[in-house]
């Protein structure tokens, strides 16, 4: 990132950081889908969106805010370890940004969706990897969780990221799409 943060970057990082905190402290951060944990988190999504919209620096700061808030709110000792709760979260927005930039010339939708997927996977893999390194769980358990929890979470992440970013960027579907209640009965 260039040296100075622009006003836009500062504000977007702050506002999306606020959402990351909010999702962390309310049950809205969890979507009840079948995973090992019984739900998928969407708390990493502000970092993904920040990365897509304003670059890796903003993504990283939102990841930091998400990490610190999950550290402060943790109810399980696993996340009371800053190396597990905070460090991995810094990279969510960065990988999401790189994915988006790499693919955006191919197709906007593909790039946004892929960024959502990679961002979520970054979160899952790095957190679990750190948990293994720090001795909270064995590699076998971590792999199982990564598949049973990480994959549904990544799917959720793709859907939400696409919906939010497409709506905000006003990606034109106008004229092409018809309302569900349209057409002949």
């Amino acid at each position: 990132m260039e040296k100075g943060l622009t006003v836009r970057k500062i504000v977007i990082a702050g506002v999306l950081g606020a959402i990351a905190i909010l999702l962390g402290v309310t049950r809205l951060g969890y979507i009840p889908v079948p995973t090992a944990a019984g739900n998928a988190t969407i708390m990493h999504i502000p970092a993904v969106i920040g990365g897509i919209m304003e670059g890796w620096g903003v993504g990283m700061i939102i990841g930091l805010i998400f990490g610190v808030s999950s550290f402060l709110n943790a109810t399980v000792p696993l996340f009371k370890d800053p190396l597990v709760a905070i460090l991995p979260r810094l990279f969510i927005g960065v990988t999401a940004y790189l994915t988006y930039v790499g693919l955006k010339n191919v197709n906007q939708y593909l790039a946004i969706g892929a960024a959502g997927f990679i961002g979520a996977m970054t979160n899952t893999i790095l957190v679990l990897g750190m948990a293994v390194i720090r001795g909270y769980m064995t590699l076998g358990v971590a792999t199982t969780v990564a598949i049973t929890n990480g994959l549904p979470e990544a799917i959720v992440s793709v859907i939400v990221t696409l919906a939010v970013v497409a709506a905000w960027k006003k990606l034109g579907s106008a004229g092409r799409q018809k309302s569900k209640i349209s057409g002949d009965l």
Binding site: V15, L16, P32, I61, L72, P77
Partner: protein, 278 residues
């Protein structure tokens, strides 16, 4: 039942409780510094007596900040099941991993040693201590003071070109908007519930459907947030806010005797905690 939508009540961040105690009036820079030192000491300390001592200190801190202890306890309650499950896991499987100590029990793959018991008890105590300390800090310090304190403590990093001020501003904006968005979210949930929304009723295996069930809240929440951001950007640029420009401060902190005394007391407490050999 009526608490169904009362989200703001459950948000503990920045839940400042103004009791005007000595702790409340400490210089936030010193308070934050002392907090960091104590947390580090707790993270390192792995003795029974040391942790008992730390726990006693934490409870005493509630006393001198005139904050009812149940504020701290309510932060622990939801965690109890997790602590118990983790404790059992550690107890059953960590005998082999943690070296040393006398073996109490060995049965099949289960090994329980004095060291694994210590790990279990100490990590549970640590957890309680961290919750208590964070509660005292956030209940006795307003979020403005916290960010100011943090900004000043990080001040020296300006020398290595780290944008301390911008960083502090981001944190300020984030913390400032949490209650605003919480209220927006509450309104959104109520408004959509009024239209018949029912969150997460699709069959449990239909991930996409379940995710879309949350759209009526998530999409408007991000939209409201991003449009607030646009307003704020415009307002700041209209006032010629320039990131990184030199500026004076509205609040100046001046440390007095009691601030130094509090910091030294916390250093001594940390040293004692770590020096206790049992």
């Amino acid at each position: 039942m009526s608490a169904e939508f009362e989200l703001t009540r459950n948000i503990t961040i920045g839940q400042y409780l103004p009791t005007a105690s000595v702790v409340h009036r400490l210089d936030p820079r010193f308070k934050l510094g002392a907090f960091v030192i104590l947390i580090l000491a707790i993270a390192i300390c792995d003795t029974y007596v040391g942790n008992l001592f730390a726990l006693a200190i934490c409870i005493w801190m509630f006393q001198i900040s005139k904050i009812p202890l149940h504020y701290g306890i309510s932060g622990i309650k939801p965690a109890i099941p997790f602590i118990i499950i983790l404790a059992i896991m550690q107890l059953l499987f960590y005998g082999e991993v943690v070296n040393g100590g006398t073996v109490y029990l060995k049965y099949g793959f289960i090994t329980i040693t004095s060291e694994s018991v210590r790990l279990v008890i100490v990590s549970a105590m640590r957890f309680v201590e961290v919750i208590f300390l964070s509660s005292v800090l956030t209940l006795s310090t307003s979020t403005t003071e916290l960010t100011h304190g943090m900004e000043r403590l990080l001040g020296p990093l300006e020398k290595v070109k780290f944008p301390v001020h911008a960083f502090a501003l981001i944190i300020t904006i984030a913390v400032r908007f949490v209650p605003t968005f919480a209220m927006e979210m509450e309104k959104m949930m109520k408004a959509q519930a009024s239209r018949g929304a029912d969150f997460g009723t699709g069959e449990w295996w239909r991930i996409i459907q379940r995710t879309k069930d949350m759209f009526p809240i998530i999409i408007p929440l991000f939209n409201v947030a991003l449009s607030r951001a646009e307003d704020l950007i415009l307002a700041m640029e209209a006032r010629c806010y320039t990131p990184g420009a030199a500026r004076t401060r509205y609040t100046e902190y001046k440390a007095v005797g009691k601030d130094y005394a509090a910091l030294i007391a916390c250093i001594v407490i940390s040293a004692v905690m770590l020096a206790i050999p049992w």
